[in-house]
Symmetry: C2
Subunit: 157 residues, 2 copies
Amino acid sequence: MKMSGGVEWGLHCCVALSGAGAPVTAAKLAELHDVSQSYLAKQLQLLSRAGLVRSTLGQSGGYVLTRAANEITLLDVVEAIDGVQPAFRCTEVRQRGPLAVPAERCDTPCPIARAMDSADRAWRESLRAVTIADLIADVNRTTPPEILAGAREWLRA
Amino acid sequence: MKMSGGVEWGLHCCVALSGAGAPVTAAKLAELHDVSQSYLAKQLQLLSRAGLVRSTLGQSGGYVLTRAANEITLLDVVEAIDGVQPAFRCTEVRQRGPLAVPAERCDTPCPIARAMDSADRAWRESLRAVTIADLIADVNRTTPPEILAGAREWLRA
DNA sequence: TTCTATTCGGACAAAAGTTATCCGAGTCAA
DNA sequence: TTGACTCGGATAACTTTTGTCCGAATAGAA
Ligand code: SF4
Ligand code: SF4
C-alpha cells in the first residue's frame, strides 16, 4: 500500500506554478526540487493528460495551470498521477471453491467490498476538501515575505 | 496505489475461522477459497505475527482466532497484512534544491503532509468502525440457513 | 520564409515490490 | 516411541513502479 512518490512532486509543482505567472519548464521545476528531470517530466505529462496543466511548446514554453488554484483539489492531483482505481480490488473469491456462491446471488456487493469502498470514499472526500490555494495560503502565512519574493524571482529567471 | 491482494483472503479467513470452533488448517482454508495454499500460508503467518490468530502445531492443528469476532476490526486485518505505513511518504523535498528551506524551519509538518495524514486517518477510522462480527451478521442475514449449515459442516470435515 | 534552438511526448530499460513456492524445524496424537 | 502432520521462514518468478532516453512538434529569431 504505497501511493506513487510522484504525487508529492506533482503537488509541489502545482504550488510553484501557481506562484509564477509565466510558463515554467520541466527542467526548471526539476532543478528547483532537485529531482530527476526525466522522471518529473513523466508526472507532468500525467497532469497534462488529466487537464490540470497546459503545456506550451517551443521557446519560452513550459507548463501553466489551467484553472485557478482554488479550483484544484488534492484529489485531482492524486487521481491524475496515482490513478483513480480504488486500493482494494475484489477478486470475487466467493464465486470460487467448493462452497462457491452462485453468480445469481452476487448481484449486490458483499459487506467487505462495501466497507472498503466506504473507507476509500472517506479518504477521497478528505482529499477533495483541500485545494492548492489552501496550501499556498499556509505557505504564505508561515514563510517570510522576503523568501517568497526570492522564490518568485528565481522561477522567473 | 494498490493494497496487497492478501487482505481479501485474510478477511475471508477470519470470517471462516469465526464460524468453525475448532482449529482449521491453512490447506483447508486455501481449498475453500481456491487459492494458492503456499501463499495463503504467508498471509496467515502475518496474521499470526500480529496476534490476531493463534496457530496450533501438530496433528489436528490449525488456526484459531484469538479474540471474539466483534473485537477484530477490518483495520486490524488490513494493518496486519498490508502494513501500518501510511500510503503517502514525505521525502522532505523542501529541504533540497537551490531554494531549500533550512532544517530549522521544518519543525512542523508542511500542509501537504498534514492533509495527507488527515485523509489517511479518515480512511483508517472508517475501517476501524467495522468488525468481523459485522461482516458475519451481514452474511447471516443474506444467506439461507441451509447453506450456512453446509459450510460449517464442510469446514469441520 | 527558413532555420535553429528549445520544448514536450511517448517509447525504452532498470529497480523495487509483490506474488507464489518450497522444504526444514517443531509439535501433537496415537 | 513412533510417526505423520503442522506451521515458519528462507527462496525464486513475476508484476508494478521507477527512472532514462531520444525523436516529433513548435515558437521565435534571422
Ligand atoms: S465476499 Fe466481498 S471481498 Fe470476498 S470475494 Fe465476495 S465481493 Fe469480494
Ligand atoms: S512540503 Fe510537505 S510534502 Fe513537500 S517535502 Fe515538505 S513536508 Fe514533504
